[in-house]
């Protein structure tokens, strides 16, 4: 394991940014963190996580797919796909790192989503181990270890510096580029920090949340639960939970007439929206109860059913702090779990 001292972190960023585009989480004026394209002098955010998840890098909120143009009475289709530039995302937490796997299971299974793959191929994920989890964190529920965050390269803060560990080939290449800036690690110091974090994880208020009551085989029980009415009654049907969620991957494809042609683009959609999957006959889920149920059934039942037991949630806690009415997956799980 190799290490860099905290003072030299920005030198490292400058080095990376000189080779490819680097994104790091920085604090905004309102103290909330967001990923920004690194420019010399930016400070890495100390916040646990960003408001928007890191999925934006591979699955942006809007993305152009194609262009058409009417010339006379014929339609000319323009392929606007191009190879994405290489980029590095630094400071991804374990939860978001896991979310990429969940997105991969959707976008990279056949037929492969080439737009997603293009970005995925060119992105290097540098994760950051957690040392100060929040009360809203429940990643351990889904078997995530925030002290071992994964990604192409894992970074472990130890209080005075950061240790680096390559996990993949891409990670090794990344490490090779910066190896001259790294020094020998301090395993003892790191172990102490990790131990400390593990202790905190045990004390988290949501540490005891279990997934035992969920999974593909519980479909009918949960679908027909009477609890949904109460759970969904105050849902205002906005898309906040969906849009801050690192694993939500639904999108809508729309055409925009620019006056000089059509731009076909896709944009995030939310199953909480009343016009979600609207078809010629109308909507398939007409009440907020059905829409609300869909969202949580998808995460807790359908997703594991379709993806070898993997839940569609990584316990990042964003929806817990952002939901306008404070309704969230934890409350749903607690209401539905076997008593």
């Amino acid at each position: 394991m190799f290490r860099i001292s905290a003072e030299k972190l920005n030198d490292l960023f400058d080095r990376i940014a000189s080779k490819q585009t680097l994104y790091i989480p920085v604090d905004r004026e309102d103290k909330a963190a967001e990923y920004k394209k690194y420019e010399s002098g930016m400070t890495l955010s100390s916040a646990l996580n960003t408001v928007r998840s890191a999925k934006d890098f591979f699955f942006p909120q809007t993305e152009n797919l194609a262009e058409f143009r009417l010339s006379g009475k014929t339609i000319e289709v323009k392929d606007i796909r191009s190879e994405h530039e290489d980029f590095v995302i630094f400071g991804v937490r374990a939860c978001d790192a896991r979310s990429f796997g969940i997105l991969d299971s959707v976008f990279l299974s056949e037929p492969v989503d080439t737009f997603y793959k293009n970005r995925r191929d060119h992105g290097t994920i540098v994760t950051m181990a957690c040392t100060r989890p929040e009360e809203t964190c429940f990643c351990t529920t889904f078997g995530i270890n925030p002290t071992m965050p994964g990604g192409d390269v894992s970074v472990f803060p130890d209080g005075t510096g950061y240790s680096f560990l390559a996990n993949t080939e891409k990670g090794k290449e990344f490490m090779a580029e910066i190896s001259d800036m790294l020094e020998e690690g301090n395993p003892a110091q790191l172990a102490k920090v990790q131990e400390n974090t593990r202790n905190i994880l045990k004390r988290l208020p949501l540490a005891n949340l279990k997934t035992d009551s969920f999974g593909g085989e519980r479909l009918m029980k949960h679908f027909s639960s009477e609890k949904w009415a109460e759970l969904s009654e105050s849902c205002i049907g906005c898309g906040t939970c969906t849009f801050v969620c690192p694993t939500c991957q639904c999108y809508d494809i729309r055409d925009f007439d620019t006056g000089n042609g059509i731009k076909r683009f896709r944009c995030w959609d939310s199953c909480m929206y009343s016009d979600f999957t609207k078809m010629a006959h109308g909507n398939s889920r007409n009440s907020q109860l059905e829409r609300f149920r869909q969202r949580f059934m998808h995460k807790l039942v359908y997703h594991p059913s379709n993806h070898e037991g993997e839940f569609g949630c990584v316990g990042c806690g964003r929806c817990l702090s952002k939901c306008p009415i404070s309704m969230n997956i934890v409350k749903v799980m607690k209401a539905l779990e076997d008593k």
């Binding site: 309102d30 103290k31 909330a32 967001e34 100390s46 646990l48 408001v51 928007r52 909120q61 809007t62 100060r132 989890p133 929040e134 009360e135 809203t136 905190i200 004390r203 988290l204 208020p205 949501l206 109460e230 009654e233 105050s234 205002i236 049907g237 906005c238 898309g239 906040t240 969906t242 849009f243 801050v244 809508d252 729309r254 925009f256 731009k263 683009f265 944009c267 995030w268 959609d269 939310s270 929206y273 009343s274 016009d275 817990l320 702090s321 952002k322 306008p324 009415i325 404070s326 309704m327 969230n328 934890v330 409350k331 607690k334």
Partner: protein
């Protein structure tokens, strides 16, 4: 307060005045309270909460709830009563089916403001003599109460209940708030500065529609932005124009109807100060067409569906302040 509310709610349930109670329900933490309908005394006893974090405006829920069987008891803070009144005026709430108990308002606390102080892993928040004692995973922290007061309460316009069937606690007065200060500050900037300010803010928008869906003035059956027939529907801001468009039109559609309850800014996951747009309209209406407070009553004409033959000309916009 919470005890008095539960007690009264139980009485009204028991004597059949109402068959449901609209209030807030406890969450996992001290702060994540959820608007909820209670039907039994047991539920109330177990889950009803009214604390420093019960900010959500319940009025909008009453559109739906007042159309259900029986009468519902709703606990409304002063600001919520304005929304309630405005909805009555627009024939959205059936008044007979709601029993309104006015309760004192804030100041309520905003968890984001506490977290912005760098306090994390929050387990409990206690108000001790206007100092917040905050239990966290990482030890106990303190901060002044007023630094954690939510934006909507900091600019409170009125502690008066404009509509109620009964009150718990004292009724307050309309306050001389400084809520237009920030609008004024922006007005005094140059056009370029204002543009940069708003671009910076609105570019954060993720079009989650939380502001719209929570807004008690946004009660359209189908919002123009969701309706393909409107020709301007959009699901995400595919261009910065669409960010502007959504927020301008939304503010315009609620202009003269917005009671300045502050919910839009409260729920915004990106902390965009959306209320400033609404306040700009309110400030303009007040200065150009006379003081008007939406929701203050159910009879006065909304300034945008009214006129005076001596109204100022739009050129006033071109003539005043800084270009």
């Amino acid at each position: 307060m919470q005890e008095a509310m539960i007690k009264r709610a139980k009485e009204l349930l028991a004597d059949g005045t109402v068959n449901r109670v609209m209030g807030w329900k406890k969450g996992e933490f001290v702060y994540d309270t959820t608007p909820a309908v209670f039907e039994t005394a047991e539920e109330l006893e177990k889950e009803f909460v009214c604390n420093d974090f019960t900010q959500a405006n319940l009025s909008k829920y009453l559109i739906k709830e007042s159309r259900k069987e029986g009468k519902i008891l709703a606990f409304l803070k002063p600001c919520d009563t304005y929304s309630f009144n405005q909805l009555l005026k627009e024939h959205r709430i059936i008044r007979e089916n709601v029993y309104v108990i006015g309760i004192p308002g804030g100041p309520k606390l905003d968890m984001e403001k506490i977290k912005a102080k760098g306090i994390s892993g929050i387990l409990d928040v206690k108000n001790e003599n206007f100092t917040l004692k905050i239990e966290t995973l990482y030890g106990t922290e303190t901060m002044p109460f007023y630094e954690a007061v939510s934006g909507k309460c900091a600019d409170c316009k009125s502690k008066k209940h404009v509509v109620y069937d009964e009150l718990i606690g004292e009724d307050g007065d309309v306050l001389a708030s400084r809520r237009f200060d920030m609008v004024e500050k922006l007005e005094n900037m140059t056009s370029q500065e204002r543009y940069d300010f708003w671009r910076g803010e609105l570019s954060k928008c993720i079009r989650c529609n939380a502001c719209r869906n929570v807004c008690p003035a946004c009660t359209c059956e189908n919002c123009v932005f969701d309706n393909p027939k409107s020709g301007i529907d959009q699901k995400a801001a595919a261009d910065s124009f669409e960010e502007n468009m959504f927020h301008i039109i939304r503010a315009f559609h609620v202009a003269g109807r917005c009671t300045d309850c502050g919910e839009c800014s409260r729920v915004c996951p990106q902390n965009i100060p959306l209320h400033l747009l609404n306040r700009k309209f309110i400030k303009d209406i007040n200065s150009l067409y006379g003081e008007y407070q939406a929701g203050a009553d159910t009879t006065s004409k909304c300034p945008l569906t009214d006129y005076d033959t001596d109204d100022c000309e739009p050129s006033i916009v071109h003539e005043r302040g800084v270009e």
